[in-house]
């Protein structure tokens, strides 16, 4: 698919609407949930595509429809929400997903969940141990993608958690035990590489392959853990290369809240990565140019696309379209090529209200249009 200058795309999950959360639990919608459903239906037009589900929810009969149909409606909502905001590449707002670690791991064998780890305060998460060779039960996200593909008007793009992040968020027992002698730094590093590459080859690649067979052409591999251990950038690369080896699709890599310069130039060895989708806006503050790291990318002569995080997903304040346009102009200057820039939010917008998320996406689209007009009509 060809695009003009500064096409726009989604990057991750949206907040779940209240009507979806209650509906999935087969609970009768309260007043605010009904109002939310009606309001967003009026604005983005999704519920009319599944009138029986809508009527059951609004009529106080959630059991008539069942949780799966409500999830479908949630996915339709996410899709239309992103499409009517004007994005060129969309997904479903990850409407069926709750998180990005446990679900993929539960589609595999070789892991054991062994209790909760505190994330902070009284918040915890389940962390699995790899106790055997990784094996895939069955490719995942395929049904989810089929639904999006069947209903999308814009180009679909599927996000999937990458092998390095899945490994980094797990305990490595099986591969570490295979290392001889003391399990110190070098043994841990070797075991991690083996784990990541095995995950990539045995679980992620077959899943990607199945998705591609179902017509998925654009796949975003999410590696938020990549920046946590900059000295393991070569393992991130090995995982990415093993996961995508021999596959024909447009692969992008999303990393956020990292010091990207620390990952360069090693990261550039990710052979089949066509686009770096990184967060920048969060660090673009008064007195600090959040896009300056793109100069480093240019200095290495990297010619790939950049998915430019142009709005911050951690603040409610909505960036103006002119701010977005200014960020695009700066990025184009640093890269020396406006034709390689896609524009998107920094990361998933799930921590923002739907209202704020929508306003930020509209700014992305309008800001891209302003910058596009500048570049296409420079004397205007």
């Amino acid at each position: 698919m060809t695009h003009g200058l500064f096409p726009t795309q989604e990057i991750g999950s949206l907040a779940k609407p209240r009507w979806q959360i209650l509906g999935q639990r087969s609970e009768v919608l309260d007043g605010p949930a009904k109002e939310e459903l009606r309001d967003w239906d009026a604005r983005v037009g999704f519920a009319k595509e599944a009138p029986a589900v809508r009527d059951a929810l609004l009529g106080g009969r959630p059991r008539e429809t069942g949780p799966e149909a409500v999830r479908d409606l949630g996915a339709l909502f996410g899709l239309r929400f992103l499409e009517t905001a004007g994005l060129d590449r969309v997904y479903d707002g990850e409407a069926r997903r709750i998180e990005m670690y446990e679900y993929p791991i539960r589609q595999m064998r070789g892991f054991r969940f062994g209790g909760h780890v505190r994330s902070f305060d009284n918040k915890y998460y389940l962390k699995a141990t790899v106790t055997d060779e990784v094996r895939l039960d069955h490719p995942y996200h395929v049904d989810e993608f089929d639904f999006v593909k069947a209903h999308a008007h814009a180009e679909p793009k599927l996000p999937l958690t990458g092998p390095y992040t899945l490994a980094d968020w797990s305990y490595n027992e099986y591969y570490l035990a295979r290392q001889p002698g003391w399990k110190g730094r070098s043994a841990r590093r070797a075991a991690q590489r083996e784990f990541v590459v095995d995950l990539a080859r045995r679980a992620i690649r077959p899943t990607l392959s199945a998705l591609i067979d179902h017509g998925c052409r654009v796949i975003q591999i999410d590696e938020p853990a990549a920046g946590t251990h900059p000295d393991e950038a070569s393992i991130v690369v090995d995982g990415f290369n093993a996961a995508t080896e021999g596959l024909d699709a447009e692969f992008t890599m999303h990393i956020c809240y990292s010091n990207y310069a620390d990952l360069l130039p090693t990261l550039l060895e990710a052979k089949r990565c066509r686009q770096w989708a990184w967060e920048f806006a969060n660090r673009d503050t008064a007195g600090h140019d959040g896009y300056a790291v793109l100069k480093t990318l240019a200095e290495y002569g990297d010619q790939r696309e950049v998915g430019l995080g142009a709005v911050d997903v951690h603040r409610d304040a909505v960036e103006s379209p002119e701010t977005v346009a200014d960020r695009i102009r700066r990025a184009a200057k640093y890269l020396g090529d406006p034709g390689r820039i896609w524009v998107n939010p920094d990361c998933g917008l799930r921590t923002r209200s739907l209202e704020v998320a929508r306003a930020k996406l509209e700014s992305v689209v309008k800001g891209a249009a302003i910058a596009r007009a500048d570049f296409e009509n420079p004397r205007r």
């Binding site: 209790g115 780890v117 490595n172 003391w182």
Partner: protein, 322 residues
Amino acid sequence: MIVRTGLTGAFPRSEALVSATRDLDRGRTTAEAVEEIYARTETEVVALERRLGLDETTGGYLRWPDLFRPFAETWEGFTVGPLTRWLETNTFYRQPILLAPPGRTPGAIAARLPPALLRSPGSSRVILPGPYSFALMLDNRSGETEPALIHRLGRLLGDEVRELRGQGFATFLFSEPQIVVRPPEGPRAEAVVAGFRAIEAALDGGTSIVWTYGADARPAFPLLDRLPVSVVGVDLAETEVDQIPAGPSGRGLGLGVVDPHTTLEEDPAEVARVVRAAYARRHPSAVFLGPGAPLDLLPWEPATRKLHALPAVRRALTEGAP
């Protein structure tokens, strides 16, 4: 070889405590009911520490949301800031924001210690942030320079130690990951030494342990060797034993031999081999064995299981058991 063992940071919360604290946040239980579970779990941690023959008990510091929060919530000049990543992990702490030069609130930290410790202070290990890590991991808006802040925090922690010594506490572990993650140089390094001098002056015959983790300790050894402390600890999951500088240290050597980054249980014979190798390089007055970093990177069950390596290693080292 004199071998001592003990925890080096917070212990994980039990699954019962996880459920209770979650329920509290969701309004499904009462603070009183959760307090009962805290007390019961602390008792379990102390019982585990005693059963495994650890030389001091900690109670696990289960109520501390993170290493700095009791200070950020009770000392003058602080407020509690945003969630911030804890070193290279997928866990977070709330970064203290320092708005003015800090001041101690007498009695505040003692009141936050696990109650089980207050009943037997002489056999307890108090775990506190080290002045350097504290200074680096907060958001300093006080106007004070970093070296001045490091030194000041050292003096304040010294005052804390003095107060706790008065209550009978004798062993203090200072959690200092940043000394190896971002080894200080120049005025910052001098401030770290001065900060620990202030702590040492308050010790009055007690034991001070500096515990480092999060990175290879090798580059920091010149500074670590200058610190006026009883024990310097390094995480052997990060520092290769043959990289520990040779030469007699004349003080205790802490070795992190239980790795909280993996659920894989340590092989006591292999640990004993590595400890002997480290001992031969440094000839310390004693070796202090413990987890390389706080065990709360693990869930309760594997943390409990892995801790059993410590008595087995001690036996291997002192009795020649396999």
